[in-house]
């Protein structure tokens, strides 16, 4: 247990706390049976206790300087930049589906991922991206008949 556990435990506590707050507005029970609020109230209350325990364990370990085998590794900045770029690209892809269509936006995302984030050579990036999109298009659109949002290019 580490500082990361303390922060993780506190974040989880916030999640369960918010869920408990929201759950308090649901109908807790009827005369002889639990209502829609019963499970959410109990689950979020127990979740809150468990996550606070995680945070307290982390805090105690920090104070005592205990080094545990589960200690989280220090985050690598370069790796985090790659992750942030990937997640931003994925969000942009979702936003581009409406104007460009699903196939084109996934293709653009894969090209961005391989060229910008992973820094592949142009040939392997284009090959992997176009090959993947052609494969999924054939499987899902051609064989499984899944209707996909199309863009100005017609796919």
């Amino acid at each position: 247990m580490t500082r990361a556990d303390m922060i993780g435990g506190l974040l989880l506590s916030a999640f369960f706390g918010a869920a408990l707050w929201e759950a308090s507005s649901f109908q807790y029970g009827t005369e002889f049976a639990p209502g829609p609020g019963f499970a959410p109230v109990w689950l979020s209350a127990i979740g809150l206790c468990v996550s606070l325990m995680i945070a307290v364990h982390g805090m105690r370990a920090m104070r005592s300087g205990e080094d545990s085998e589960q200690a989280a590794p220090a985050l690598e900045v370069r790796g985090l930049v790659r992750v942030a770029l990937t997640l931003l690209g994925l969000v942009a892809m979702v936003l581009l589906v409406k104007p460009l269509g699903l196939v084109a936006s996934i293709l653009l995302f894969l090209l961005y991922l391989t060229l910008v984030v992973q820094r592949h050579g142009v040939a392997s990036a284009v090959g992997a991206s176009v090959g993947t999109v052609v494969f999924v298009y054939v499987v899902f659109v051609y064989f499984l008949d899944v209707p996909v949002p199309t863009g100005p290019l017609g796919f």
């Binding site: 247990m1 990361a4 993780g8 989880l12 369960f16 869920a19 929201e22 649901f26 109908q27 029970g29 009827t30 002889f32 049976a33 639990p34 209502g35 829609p36 609020g37 019963f38 499970a39 959410p40 689950l43 979740g47 468990v50 325990m53 995680i54 364990h57 589960q70 989280a72 690598e76 790796g79 985090l80 790659r82 992750v83 990937t86 997640l87 994925l90 969000v91 979702v94 589906v97 699903l102 996934i106 894969l110 991922l113 992973q118 592949h120 392997s124 992997a128 991206s129 993947t132 999109v133 494969f135 999924v136 499987v139 899902f140 064989f143 499984l144 899944v146 209707p147 996909v148 949002p149």
Partner: protein, 501 residues
Amino acid sequence: MSLDHLLLGFSLATTPVNLLFAFLGVLLGTIIGALPGIGPSAGVAVLLPVTFGMSPVTAMIMLAGIYYGAMYGGTITSVLINTPGESASVMTTLDGYQMALKGRAGAALGMAAIGSFIAGTISVVLLMVAAPPLAEWAVSFGPPEYFALMVLGLTTLASLTGGSMLKGLAMALAGLLLGTVGIDLMMGEPRYTLGMVELYDRLDFLPVAVGLFAIGEIVYNIYHPIRIEPIKAKLSGLLPTRQDWRDSWGAIGRGTAIGFFVGVLPGAGATIASFLAYATERRVSGRPEQFGTGVIEGVAAPESANNAASTGALVPLMALGIPGSGTTAVMLGALTLYGLQPGPLLMSTHPEVFWGLVASMYVGNVMLLILNLPLAPVFASILRIPYSVLVPIIIGIALFGVYSVENSIFNVGVALLFGGIGFFMRIYGYPAAPLVLALVLGPMLEKALRQSMQMSLGSLDIFFTRPVSAGILAFAVLAALYPVVLSFFARRREQAFAGSR
């Protein structure tokens, strides 16, 4: 079990279409198992949408093929590059890689394939024998017994996933809470919908599973790229020698028995089965000191166990409708997507699904033996493809697959959100399997709880006065306490050891 049912199963499993998809399933499973960084849970979740046009029998045959095929494939990387393809092959690295260094990679892979085949086949027989009577017995179960069974599944998975039990428990609770999202089916009240119409129906499990298992894992690999060492071992002599057989037959038998029974237990699974089988083999061996230096029974035992466990895990899934692991949770979700009602009645209302699956597993294990013996070098060559090339392929299939379930971009957004969350969970040691299992079980668990309390006019006594539910809940408490007690004694032993020094 009757012969008619088995014949029905074989008549279905041997149709050209089902043979083709069984082959595709075990082939893809072997590849998924061989690739470090993508496990069977992610493989089954990502490929689930591909099965939508198929009949439920064909789809289950293919998904199960991916699941047990991955157990075969995981061995290849464990032996050749000392990196387990999936967690159930971790123990195989200990002796498998040492054998490869001594020039016996072929023998290790050969014995792993043969051991897996024997364990897989025997455990299909056990599945066939155990599941139908269990389902018949479970027909008499009421909501309290079902509630207790689901609690047992969640508790054991949360406490046995490795790492911190508190984190496993927190993830299971988060999954159960996410399972309450949507309009309450009994009273019609919307819960946690955040004003989004898409959430009124409930939060789909597949985008969450794909996000946590596949996208989260891929993002982690972008953060921390996998570097696959070049294969130095030569692959020859795949068939075991007479001495190898003499050393391994007992290990295969014990591994099969341990694997199957551990697999049946909700929450335990193939990884724990392989650990237990290895530890048992070391204890009963006449040469325990040589374990870890390249003894063949150190490969045969865990490999037999993980295959038997993957089949054992199908017993609670098919007989009770209760999955015990992340992968079987995705398979349970698949059953509901095909319009089937999982549970003890499945075997009587849709016998073709269970018996078709059982028969296909006999065929699938033969296919895997053929694939893994002469074709092991071909699978090994897959490891020469840089992992970074596979990243866009897996993400592309995952995104398209998630969209295709309900033709919904919202689901793609959910998958991305959980992909991001899954990345941080991976870094900080929060297991994903309890969350996905709880999300799948959550609505059923809540329904069983509310029905039980309606039966008892609001009293919780009903869970403790009915012997079966009381017994199962007691077992769940034991399962939850087991790691706590274990760590308490380990700490005591450490303190005593430090004191004596």
